[in-house]
Subunit: 468 residues, 2 copies
């Protein structure tokens, strides 16, 4: 009775059940998400999604924040930003959830649970903030309640992910969104105070919306997965609250989620471990805005560039770049000739080239312009990749050969941002400030940082958006 077990656990979870490391991981996850959602709004994907929706639907009570929205855009003006929404809340909950979900993932800069390759926070937090802001018209919801519901949703999607990974991922599903809609339903259902049976129905309505395949990596549709799963999970909880019926055994039914979307024989959910081991403690944060399996290569190339410069060598005199990586790296990021910034985020060739040429990999290295830059294109053509099962996904071997025949080599044992080599609190702040300042200026970015890092102590999360 997996569905019952999950609904019962989530319904009973209280803030006092959360350990200090869990709360710490949750807060980091939330502010890393907020930075991604604000900074990512600069991309086309969330803005097209917003404009499309404002034109044709999605314009209910303007209760909820679109985090990165700048009031001077045409959609912002049509939503009445700055007039009826002076407090910064300017879209209905469905639309805010959709757009924040897209924006938080579009840069491929969000968090990663490495054991499942799920990026857990985008779907859950985007749904939760939108609904908390909408609910705050009628009641106050504390930061403790917000974090409790958030952890419930994240643990739900991650335990579910563990139940079907890697088979489910290997067949081609985008596991972040396929599990995410269920996580969002659990989180929203919990904040709405659903009882166990209503939450089971919510899980059912969420689970029958299976969003996302890997064919869309490198296009705007990748982040659409997150936006749509966010919205679908939230809608599921809202419908269930109003008595919409579903299966009470949606996850374990012969024709339900576990069996239909997983190719694992006799798949069953790992819910006995809920609340005993906390998956959120294993959440990690990306230093580079691109597919995570490219990160060790970027580390290696940046280090080799530094070494080359200190040796008095010119990286423009490199004649070949040889990478040895885990086989999955080529499966996911094998695009040899990307044409857009989004496609560049899934090209190991591009990753190596910008690491060597720029010595960094920030959003600026994944624009259409840089991806199409002639020097970058030439450098990409020098990259050769071999795969090796003995190299894990957070490891890489990089060697470069210069025109004069000299070589430099680097072995990266654990990429920056991995569990063994995590971003520090200072690095997380730098990342947040970089993303958010670009979009809303550094003064507001500082306020936003304070607001999101302090979320656990708030008495009314509905007011969060007024703080920055």
């Amino acid at each position: 009775m997996a569905t019952l077990a999950l609904a019962t656990w989530a319904t009973n979870l209280t803030f006092t059940n959360l350990t200090t490391p869990v709360i710490d991981a949750a807060v980091k996850s939330v502010y890393n998400w907020a930075g991604c959602a604000i900074g990512g709004f600069a991309q086309d994907a969330p803005q097209i999604a917003l404009n499309t929706s404002v034109d044709l639907g999605f314009g209910g009570p303007p209760t909820s924040s679109i985090l990165g929205l700048n009031g001077s855009t045409s959609a912002g003006l049509r939503l009445g930003y700055g007039s009826r929404n002076a407090d910064g809340a300017f879209a209905d909950a469905q639309l805010a959830a959709f757009v924040n979900g897209i924006a938080s993932h579009v840069d491929d800069y969000d968090d990663t649970h490495l054991a499942t390759v799920i990026h857990p926070t985008g779907v859950v937090a985007s749904a939760l903030l939108a609904i908390v802001e909408a609910e705050s018209r009628n009641r106050t919801i504390s930061g403790a309640d917000f974090l409790t519901a958030f952890v419930a949703g994240v643990e739900a999607e991650l335990k579910l992910g563990l139940s079907v990974y890697p088979e489910h991922y290997d067949v081609g599903w985008h596991i972040t969104s396929t599990t995410g809609s269920i996580g969002a339903a659990v989180a929203v259902g919990k904040i709405l105070g659903l009882d166990v049976d209503h939450l089971r129905h919510a899980i059912g309505i969420a689970s029958t919306q299976v969003i996302g395949m890997q064919a869309f990596f490198g296009s705007m549709t990748k982040s659409f997965h997150i936006g749509r799963a966010t919205q679908g999970g939230m809608l599921a909880a809202l419908l269930a609250r109003n008595g919409y019926t579903s299966s009470l055994t949606a996850l374990e039914d012969q024709y339900g989620w576990l069996h239909v979307v997983s190719t694992r024989e006799n798949a069953s959910a790992n819910f006995a471990e809920l609340g005993k081991t906390w998956e959120i403690e294993s959440n990690t944060f990306k230093p580079y805005p691109c597919g995570i399996v490219m990160h060790p290569i970027i580390d290696g190339c940046i280090q080799l560039r530094t070494q080359a410069l200190s040796d008095g060598k010119d990286v423009n005199s490199v004649k070949s770049i040889d990478l040895r990586v885990n086989p999955e790296v080529l499966v996911l990021t094998g695009q040899t000739d990307p044409q857009t910034g989004l496609a560049g985020k899934f090209s190991i060739f591009h990753a190596a080239a910008v690491g060597l040429l720029y010595g960094e990999a920030t959003p600026a290295q994944f624009t259409d312009q840089v991806v199409q830059n002639e020097t970058v294109v030439s450098m990409r053509k020098l990259v050769n990749v071999t795969t090796d099962d003995s190299v894990s996904e957070d490891q890489a071997h990089v060697s470069i050969v210069f025109d004069d025949g000299s070589t430099l080599e680097k072995y990266v044992e654990h990429a920056i941002g991995s569990l063994e080599n995590p971003l520090t609190v200072e690095e997380l702040k730098t990342k947040f400030m970089d993303q958010v300042s670009r979009q809303i200026g550094s003064a507001r970015a500082e306020k936003a940082y304070s607001a999101f890092t302090n979320i656990g102590n708030m008495t009314d999360v509905g007011k969060l958006r007024t703080l920055f």
Copy 2:
């Protein structure tokens, strides 16, 4: 290049390509859908969906009809029915598409393409009418253009269904909605005038939203599948029009639709036959509002009741009812003890009981009240089912034994509503009038029948809703 082939065919299709039988089948499909959507609105599912959405999101420009909405409901009042929407258009396109999609399927009374078990019209027509009404603010769209786009969408989903049936269905997907979002995207994309590449992106965004599993049959979530797929396909076309990018090879990509959702080895799309054979010509219409595999049993039981009565026998003196059916019948409709009207639609036991007791199977026999009625419950307990591979899905053997030991038997070779035994135009009208009169009265039902049967001749389909 399946995605390219589909997009190219759909883009090039014109009304002059449609043969008379195709147009005839399309018009029947549309008015049968309209009857279902108006009549089905009486159910809880579409009304909860509407109320939930009005409360939290979905309230953009009120351009589009919710077909069965009665202005005196609270949601109708909140949407401003009767004041700002005196012409009968009263929700934004997203919401109208969602609710009409649910309403058109909730009674399990819609159409069926028997070769794939797809109910093809609900998703495509619900999306199309909503978007045509929204577009009609700016331009007129003729009935010929409406039907051309409709046929494009229906052929897309049905050819796709043939490409993956039965494996895709057997694993547990609800094939109507999993193919339907793609059909809706094709239809809406065509009416929006997308070029081939934009339509390929639309197909991509639609195909990554895989909605619906069989675990939810017998609950409101079954019709949610249709509403959400309707909306997802429409949103896909709207996003693509605005430049949202996706995969250009979404269907055939190694990690795209055909391979991820089908367990068929080397699945490929049957698109070479597009425009050569027309699947819509094989569309059929249901005489009974329930799972189609139960229809031959209902036929048989109704006939046996008639025979019993003419023989002077009392059906209340039946002591056992023996059914011999195709094995799939028990897989899909094996609920022995349903508790709700929606669950009764998937209980072969209930179907046999009401056929014998009432001599008919209309929406009135699938209410919660009738499903829980003691006499019906007792009769259900007398039903024994055996399965037989040699009996096809539109066939059934029924035999009843009376208390006095006498028996009656019936073999149904082709159920009413099957390809070999289709509903006549008169029967379709009777069905439409029955469904629609219950919801909006017989005078408006007559006008609605005229409006929908004449849709092919309209110069401005945006005005259709003003005709009744």
